[in-house]
Structures are given as structure tokens and as C-alpha cells.
Subunit: 440 residues, 2 copies
């Protein structure tokens, strides 16, 4: 479990002025990690951090003397590859990187550092980003109990929350190849669907296209095959979090998902935010993990003191929708929902420990999705399926348009922001994806 | 669809004498591809083919002039990486490799080639093999209708074969990190299970450990996101087949699998055979793909003339079990079952087309599992779950031992062999895995 130190001091300011504005996602207390290159370039993606509205090239920063040689050597191996080598260096060196970045970027370091590091800084608007790392395996959990209950009611009215839900961190393997970063566009999938009253299924563009509001967790270091990870060690294996949109075709899902789970209803696209918010940056927003009265306590292998005391993470989560008409009219995206990641029924540490409990070898760069993070009230659904009561009750957008499910041209933006009393707020940056028309 | 040519001539013989024995898996008509290095070495794995009881180093063969420069260049990029670059070169160059190998290894080429290629040949017993390629995503299908029916009865007595089964090639994403090649050992998994009459689940070593007899298919070339692959084009995207053992913990599976499908019950280990039998080598064993009378015909997107005429592939499949006691007594493995891949309810072309139908981008090196290939009769179950009627009726092994499920020390070997009248038989080589005791 990461402790708080001076890098979390809310009074810290940066000589990069935009990092000190109250509404930036990227104050000096955040320092997320990602892979970027000059927009429109064909060069290799390089490891970067964000500071205000600027991007700092970490290899260049090391060459300019702002980072130690040991970190510089690791960062160079990330070029053209992904953050994996950096993710694998372990928590001590990761903390060292954070400390060195704070030392280089803090107010007290400028203008000397401002001059020295100028060649390594670029406006964020001038770079493009890619996946933060090579993802070996992607596992999607189901830790949103409000989502599981509401959706369970739609698929199984008599049996909304299955008997295993409060005991097992339910998860399933997801598709890696179609994971993209913010800015991803994808064609409306085609697929096989069957109306309840139809004799036979048909094939064509899906009609019930949806998003799912999730948080993603990236694995820093894995485990040897056959060697589980104890709940007390689990946090050491985590690198950081991203936002994750688990796009879903509900009509495909309903027809295909039994008995082996979702497949083509999810595998066409998954969008994550390109900036990894490190576990170190999230330290001030940790909260006690508790179970509602009357719910079973986790089995011992999923129950540890640190997990109980600080296993949860407070992240305010939102979904915003912008239709093509809204975009054309210059109208801002409309907020559809807000919830909080601290309400997850299982912590990321529990997900990791459960995942490795059977001896499955996790690897650096593995991605976990949290499952849809809906809130407890009807207007806090993390998907349209929930907000429209299974596609029955349309929602009305500010411009007057209505939606049961997503239409071509719709853009969905996830927002994540951590706030706590006496703490500098940090954010996750953009996680936007757009639906394109089905292939002809 | 690959046509037959002189490389399939059953009269072809090799100057490698062991390739001409009737019972070898690797006559000159096979020429499977894999990645090998000297046993016990720490060097890079290199692309190889098998001929009789010998392994031919393909980079060395190219350097010795037996393969064209173009193929040599591709093969060199496979070293230390996997067959992926070779898999991606397309069917014409793949066929060229086969033709050049036949020219170099056929009887008529020796003893000149026997002398020239001697430095590139090694006894198979002196090499170790690894995964044939980097597997990006692994999808396990469910095309064994006899398995689906028998297992469905155990899990859902009233509803064995779900309404979607005969319409949708059911599949789900599997775990890539724990895929190993023949020789894989793995610890008995720990996990959360719940007896039907227990109030709460418990945690410990699983009791109902099982194997599943499957065929794996490797993708040669993928598709762009959003661009489906027609059924008529699907064969061009396939590289070859392997055997696949989808190890399964039935007690984990029963408790965890709803509603999102199998997860930890499968993710601890999957064993494949290291030799890829190319689609070219399988050409003589193609058969008509037909549906039983009264079953629905596939929807048009899964139905094509070539698929109907030659979509099925005849592979005799067997499972052999050797317990520790049998091994200690020098007793041969006992055959538990035999079935045939031609009975798969969906062809590999249909799996590929269905997988890409929603726009999901397949990639070179993706692996599909076929699902458990049981035969129609009770003694043809492709898993112990089936052979023991859900763990109720023990099977007795030749030495007198009984099994409901696998015990520590048990080795399971899958066997695959293609035979057809007037054709030289070819085989898949070994696919063995062994259960080790659970971690303390």
C-alpha cells in the first residue's frame, strides 16, 4: 500500500503554469504516464507524463539530466514498445520516478529547469497518444453490484443477482486486439440477433449498441505460474488505473451469451484513456472497503487488513454523450450519469488476488476492467441499458433528441476525477469513442 | 481452399529414412512448422520443420541454399520471436515453402542434399520446443455438439442444448498467458467452490480436475477493424492446426460460470502441441461439411460452397492417460476415448468468419480452440466429466486404478492423426501435460 509523502502535498505547485489551474486533470500531484508522439508523425511512441496542458518526453528529460540514469535506461527501452519495462521495475523505482519528476517540475525548480526542460515539453494538443502498454491479457470483472442487479433483472427477472455474486469476484476474459485509446472510432457491428418472437435469428447491423462505464487497472508485475498472490501483496502488483468503456451490443449479447458468456457483443471495441494514473498518485483517495450490513464478508483469501482499511479508491465517474447533431450545433456533451468507483463491490487488490488464486500467471501490462460502475439510484446507470430500463424508456438530451441506444455519430466520453478534502484534485484525462456507421 | 498437388503424392519418400516408416507422424507429406532449440540450451528458438524423427532448422536450411532467399529472410525474423512473420506471408509463399522443402527432402534429392543439409538436421529427441508463435488472443469455441449436449445435461438437466447452439458458433475468450506446449506441467489449482448443500463456499485445491480434447487453429492473417471476412475468404486466413487440451476444474466452473462464463476454471493452464500442421498438409483430409437432417442450415454469412464441399477436416482424435503408478511401473498410457474432428458442428472457416463478423480484428497468431470433440457414443466423451457421467461412475484403468477426475501425477496425452484412403497418413506429434500437486 502506497503511503503519502511530500509529492502529495496539496500546496505543491509547478513552474508549468497550466498545472496550477484548479480544473486541470494534471497538476504536479498527478504525473500520469503514457505513450505519445508528435501528432501526425510516423515516429515511435515515447514514454511521457502530463503536466497541466503540456506533455513531458521522459527520455528527453532523462537526457537533459532531470531523471537519473537508471530510470533513463528503463525509459529508453519503452520507446516504440510501451510502458511495460517501466511498469515492471517495482514500486521503489516507480516512486523514485515520481519524486524525480516532482523535483524537476515543481515551482522551486524553475526557471532553471524551465529552460533546461523546454526541449522536452510539448503542448498536449500537439501530440497523439497510443495504448500505454502492450496488453497481454484483458480480464473484465463485474464488480458493479448495482449494474449486476439492474441488468440481472432484465436478463433474469426472477434471479437478478446470482448466488455466487457476493462471494466470487466474477470476471471473464476479454478481447485484447480491439482495445484502443481515447479517440477510437469503430463501425457499428454486424451480428446475429433473434427477436424473442422470431422463429430464426437474422444477421445485420446491431440495434442496441451501448457503452459501459468502467475503470481499468494495469498490472505492474505478475506472478509465476502456480504461485498465487496474497491479498496483502496484491497492491504491490498494481501499476495504475485508466478509464475503460466496454462498448456492448445488447441484442448480440442476449442471443449469444449463454452458456459461455459475452463474446462478439463486446469484442468489436474497448476504449481506454491513454494516461495511466499511478497507484502512487491515487494514494490520497484511498478509502475503507466495507460491505453492506448483512452481506457476507469476503473469504479469508480475499480479506486483508490493508484491503479493509484502504482497499477502495474514490473516483467520481461520469458519462457524457454528444450526438452528431449536438456536435454540428457546437453543443457541449450532455452528462448522462455520475457514480463513484469507491462503490465497487470488490477492490482491485481482490480482483488481482482472485485472478491469481488458481495459479494463473498474471503479466506486466495485463488489463482488468472493473465492470460497469453504476450508482445505486436509477439515474446513476453506467449504461444506456440501465438508464432506459432495458431500452423501453428513452432519455431526452438537452437539444431534444432522444436515445434508447447509441446512434451512428454518437460520441461517448467518460470522465474520472479524484477529489478529497484537503487534497489537490486529479483527473484521468479524456476517454472518448465514436460510433461510425456499419460497413455496407 | 488449398488444392492437392505433387507434395501430397502418397508415393513421395524422403532421404530421411525415418520419415518413410508407416507409423511416423511426420512423413514428407506433412512438414509441420514449429519453434525449437537444442535441449537444455538458453539460445533463441528457431523455426523448424519435422521430418521423421529429425528436426530441420529452416534458417540453416536457407543458409545452405535449400530454401529461397525470400523465405530465408522471413525465417530469420522468426528467430527468438515465433512463426508470426512466416504465418503472415500469405498462402502463395507458404505453398512455396512447402514445395521447396519437399524438393530438398525428397528421396530424389539425396544423397547430395543429405550431405548438404546434415548441419541443419538434429534428432527430435535432442531439441526442446516452445509455443509456435506469439498468440495475441485465444478464443475457445464450443463446436462439439455431443460434448455440449452431455455437459449441458449435467449443468442444466431440463435445457441441455440451448436454443442458440445450432445457429451461433458459441465461443468465449480464453487466457493467453497460461498456454504452454506439450510437456507442460501445472499445479492443481486452488479455488473457490461450493457444495450444493453448503451454506457458504470454501477455498482449497480443486477436486474435479479434468481435461478437454480439442483442436486448435492458428490465424495466418487477420482483418482490419470493422472489416468482416466472408466465409469464402476464411480459409485463406488460416495457417494450420494443433492439438489443444483445455484443462478444466469442474468444481470451480460450476460455482463461477454464471453469468459471464468460465474464468478461473480454465485459466490456470492450456496445453497445445508444438507442431503446427499446415492447412496445405491437411488438404487431402478435407471432407464435406453437412448438417444432420432436420437441423437448421447455417445463416448465409456462415454458408459458402467451398465450406459445404470441403469445410470439415478428418482428424482421428484420442485421449490417453498415464497415472504416476502406471509411469512408475513402465506401463503405457491407456486410451480413454477416440473421436473425429470431422464431426465438429462448425468448421474452422465458420469460426473465423463468425469471429470477425462484428468487425473484431483478428491478428496473425490468434488461436481458436474448437471446443471439446466428443463422439456421439457414451464412451467417446472428450473429458472425464462425460466419461464418468458427471463424476458419478468411475472409469477403471488397465492397472486397476480408478478415476473420477484427475489425480496428482496424472499425465494426459492427446493424439491426432489424419488418414484417408490412398493418402499418406500424417500426425500431430505429442500433446502431453501433467498435473502437479497444489501449492502448499
Amino acid at each position: 500500500m502506497t503511503d503519502l509523502d511530500h509529492t502529495h502535498d496539496p500546496a505543491l505547485r509547478s513552474w508549468v503554469a497550466s498545472a496550477n489551474s484548479a480544473d486541470t486533470d494534471f497538476p504536479i500531484q498527478n504525473l500520469p504516464l503514457g505513450m505519445a508522439r508528435a501528432a501526425g508523425s510516423t515516429g515511435a511512441f515515447r514514454p511521457v507524463t502530463a503536466i497541466g496542458d503540456q506533455v513531458l518526453d521522459l527520455i528527453a528529460a532523462a537526457e537533459l539530466g532531470a531523471l537519473s540514469d537508471a530510470l533513463g535506461a528503463v525509459l529508453r527501452t519503452c520507446e516504440g514498445h510501451g510502458l511495460n519495462p517501466l511498469m515492471a521495475i517495482g514500486p521503489d523505482l516507480r516512486r523514485q520516478l515520481r519524486h524525480e519528476l516532482v523535483a524537476a517540475l515543481r515551482d522551486e525548480a524553475g526557471p532553471k529547469q524551465a529552460n533546461a526542460l523546454a526541449p522536452a515539453l510539448k503542448p498536449m494538443a500537439d501530440v497523439e497518444m497510443t495504448l500505454p502498454c502492450r496488453i497481454g491479457d484483458y480480464t473484465d470483472f463485474y464488480a458493479g453490484i448495482h449494474h449486476a442487479t439492474t441488468v440481472g433483472k432484465l436478463f433474469r427477472p426472477d434471479n437478478p443477482l446470482l448466488p455466487n455474486y457476493k462471494w466470487v469476484p466474477i470476471g471473464y476474459h476479454g478481447r485484447v486486439s480491439s482495445i484502443g485509446v481515447s479517440g477510437q472510432t469503430f463501425r457499428r457491428p454486424l451480428g446475429q440477433t433473434k427477436a424473442p418472437d422470431a422463429e430464426a435469428p437474422g444477421f445485420g447491423p446491431v440495434k442496441r449498441l451501448d457503452y459501459e462505464l468502467e475503470v481499468g487497472a494495469l498490472v505492474a508485475t505478475g506472478n509465476e505460474p502456480g504461485r498465487p498472490v496474497s491479498i496483502d501483496e496484491a497492491e504491490q502488483h498494481l501499476f495504475g488505473l485508466v478509464l475503460l468503456n466496454d462498448w456492448s451490443a445488447r441484442d448480440l449479447q442476449a442471443w449469444e451469451y449463454q452458456p459461455l458468456g459475452p463474446f462478439l457483443s463486446k469484442s468489436f471495441a474497448t476504449t481506454i484513456s491513454p494516461w495511466v494514473i499511478t497507484m502512487e498518485a491515487l494514494a490520497p483517495f484511498r478509502r475503507a472497503f466495507t460491505r453492506p450490513d448483512g452481506d457476507p464478508q469476503p473469504l479469508p483469501y480475499l480479506d486483508g487488513a490493508a484491503n479493509r482499511e484502504r482497499g477502495a479508491i474514490g473516483i467520481r465517474l461520469e458519462v457524457h454523450l454528444q450526438t452528431r447533431a449536438m456536435r454540428d450545433a457546437g453543443q457541449a456533451p450532455a452528462r448522462l450519469t455520475a457514480s463513484d468507483f469507491s462503490q465497487a463491490y470488490w477492490t482491485v487488490a481482490q480482483m488481482l488476488t482472485h485472478h491469481a488464486s488458481n495459479g494463473c500467471n498474471l503479466q506486466t501490462g495485463d488489463l482488468f476492467g472493473s465492470g460497469t460502475m453504476s450508482g445505486p439510484t436509477a439515474d446513476q446507470g453506467g449504461s444506456l441499458l440501465e438508464l432506459t430500463q432495458g431500452g423501453k424508456q428513452a432519455i431526452t438530451l438537452p437539444g431534444g433528441e432522444q436515445r434508447l441506444f447509441l446512434q451512428d455519430g454518437d460520441s461517448v466520453a467518460l470522465v474520472g476525477r479524484c477529489e478529497a478534502p484537503g487534497r489537490r484534485a486529479i483527473g484521468f484525462g479524456p476517454c472518448v469513442g465514436t460510433v461510425m456507421p456499419a460497413v455496407a
